[in-house]
Symmetry: C2
Subunit: 438 residues, 2 copies
């Protein structure tokens, strides 16, 4: 049984003379996650992911794996975190990305990059086995790993940190048309993944920037703390990141300049890279006639820790965290009666019954936590549960102690609805909330 | 359906003038893993973990999670990979560990360590919330993450790499007796975990070395390429790492010097650290009377990638990889008839039936791969399956094409046994092999 009293969740109340200064807390999600014991700051832009949040991270990883493997048919691997600086020199990015690259030099004097992204690394892998038969393509390889960026000013907690968890997918095709098809497939999977997360998002055309290539789209959660300015053309309906407009301020599609604007938090990014890396590093294929050609690439990122933090930023109030159902550390929290209360003896036995039956519902076998801090009143624990934001909270209180007609208070925190339901109805309601959308 | 033709598995045949030189290949497991497309070398001591091996890594992680969470009652979290060099200075290890530490300096001039281990980091976390009520203990926190070590001479592939995946558990107790109890609990879980892996191992008392503390044990797989000399006292039966004997050559238990010796590959290590880190960094608790005290610590490592490589080193022949059943990328491989063969039409339909029914067996729902390279003969594919070492290989061949009495060739590669079985018996045999030990 997952018991709340056994979970390491050191909450942070920031006193006036604290080592974490108020000015270090630059977003609502960062403050809520600190206050609720989900993260602790380690250094400037580095964080401890504490056990409750670790559960959310692992759920997010599982969700990303699902969409990458089933929808994109991508294969998972692990690239080394250290990439030879020499490869970055060959791609031409060692100087252009200089400021944000973290480097380390080994005892033999070789400089390595702590990868912020891995185009060079994966292309070198393909180059080492080149030329590869056309039959092997499309090739879609991804990893989920820690990335590093030497931010000038880390901020917003997990949303702009020096270390962050990212899913990076690299694709290889034998021609531009095939690469375009792959691009559509991955963007389609991103749409489905973000729909499953359920936080409102917008897709905009974007600048290719340091990555290079020709085509790029970003996915944003609209939010006041977003660092990107999104432009929605009122004439043609197209959306883009303001960066795309560069100097001109007209819509690239229809040449009008009638935009609605909003700021967004970038959670995913897609690029058609063409042959920028494959040409520089020599990643080739052999066509049906045995003629060699340069591979066409794409790359596709999702910020895993950023996706979680941005979701919390968008969904939460100033007081209470709210999670996307799919990413919550536990989807159900049970609150049994206070120790020594008059309902304890009669309502108490329902705890085991509910716990046992809820775990039998689809997908819920390890997703229920019991707030066993029974020296505290139900009211205090319910307030805590609202703050941390478990999507479903069930109170086993006075109404459950009624001998002939036991009832439970069911809080659906996704929709801020309360209901009082019998045993079977409670189970049906949990199943409905958790499984109707999947 | 997992199809072998869709798995990125670039095999390596080392030609005379190859960039990977023969002298770089220093162990059997490294050679086999390179030849079979499980790893590729990226740099000196860094490797790509390719998709088949990635599956084994994720299985190993799941197994370690299971034993940490269910047996040790430990909670999973993530510590930052970068630790402030200042913390290492405070613990006194910045100089003593100097040679093997990888470092990076950020744009603000702050030096950080790419963590080879995280005693400083986790103790700083506890210190930041100190003093912690005695009720919170025992506290057992672990992570599974990439660690870095600037090896003078990386070798043996994944067994001594500059980047490696490690499970590191840190425990906090309110007194030495409680810390000793935790030590027993974790060692007991290690025994059960290694029993589940099934590779023969020995537990020896070990030097505390750079880690400090008072008590330490190592778990080794006996192997010729092992870098540690293990001493088994013929008089009292105790075993230790030769390092423990230091200058004297007598058994520390019985003062005799009658040893049998063997070399071993260290796969796990346990330490009682006492208050070395908690005192230096100020990690404290409050006892029942409100009096503060210094926490007692332990740390416990398992080399995840090393465990896999060492298993392959021990179990494999010079030609053929063998995996522990629990860690194999796929436990079952199905080989259907060759395209255009006379058995294709009659035996072919059994593929879907077998695939479907095997996946219904306990724990096997995503553990079956089909060698769909049907332009190749069954014999060639069977040879490949023997090289890569799937624990169970099922051939759907001429015998399966017999209309009245279909039979399948079942290869149990764990015991190098072959049998010819009917449909139901094949399923029972797979279930017996996979589920009788768990």
């Amino acid at each position: 049984m997952h018991k709340l009293s056994k979970i390491f969740q050191p909450s942070l109340i920031i006193p006036k003379n604290a080592s974490v200064k108020k000015q270090d807390v630059t977003s609502k999600s960062q403050r809520l996650m600190l206050e609720q014991g989900l993260i602790r700051q380690a250094g400037n832009g580095t964080f401890y992911i504490l056990p409750l949040l670790q559960r959310a991270v692992e759920k997010t990883i599982a969700l990303v794996d699902l969409y990458m493997q089933q929808h994109v048919k991508a294969e998972k691997l692990s690239l080394p975190m250290l990439t030879s600086a020499e490869l970055w020199r060959q791609s031409g990015r060692l100087d252009s990305a200089e400021a944000e690259l973290m480097k380390t030099t080994d005892r033999h004097g070789k400089m390595q990059i702590l990868g912020p992204t891995h185009e060079e690394s994966i292309t070198a892998l393909l180059a080492a086995i080149s030329p590869v038969s056309y039959r092997q393509f499309p090739l879609r390889l991804y990893q989920i790993s820690t990335k590093f960026r030497d931010e000038m000013k880390p901020r917003f907690g997990l949303m702009r940190a020096k270390e962050f968890l990212m899913k990076d997918l690299y694709t290889f095709d034998i021609g531009p048309e095939e690469a375009r098809q792959t691009y559509e497939t991955v963007n389609d999977a991103y749409r489905q993944l973000l729909d499953a997360v359920g936080v409102p998002y917008v897709k905009v055309s974007a600048d290719t920037g340091l990555m290079g290539g020709t085509t790029s789209h970003e996915y944003h959660f609209p939010s006041e703390v977003g660092e990107d300015q999104l432009m929605h053309c009122r004439e043609c309906g197209k959306s883009c990141n303001q960066e795309v407009l560069a100097n001109g301020m007209d819509c690239k599609q229809c040449n009008n300049a009638n935009f609605s604007k909003q700021t967004g938090i970038e959670v995913a990014h897609t690029f058609i890279l063409e042959d920028k890396y494959s040409k520089a590093l020599g990643a080739k294929f052999l066509d049906q006639k045995g003629k060699p050609g340069i591979l066409q690439m794409g790359c596709y990122g999702i910020g895993v820790t950023r996706l979680i933090a941005a979701s919390i930023e968008v969904l939460s109030s100033e007081m209470d965290i709210r999670w996307p159902l799919a990413l919550a550390p536990f989807r159900v929290c049970l609150i049994p009666p206070k120790k020594g209360s008059k309902e304890e003896s009669q309502a108490g036995p329902w705890l085991d019954k509910l716990y046992f039956e809820i775990r039998k519902l689809k997908g819920l076998d390890s997703d229920v936590v019991v707030d066993d801090r029974i020296s505290m009143t139900i009211g205090k624990r319910l307030m805590d549960a609202k703050k941390i934001g478990y999507p479903i909270v069930i109170v086993i209180g006075a109404k459950a102690a009624c001998e002939s007609n036991e009832l439970f208070e069911v809080y659906n925190q996704l929709q801020e609805k309360e209901s009082v339901l019998g045993f079977t109805e409670t189970l049906l309601e949990i199943d409905r909330i958790c499984n109707s959308r999947t």
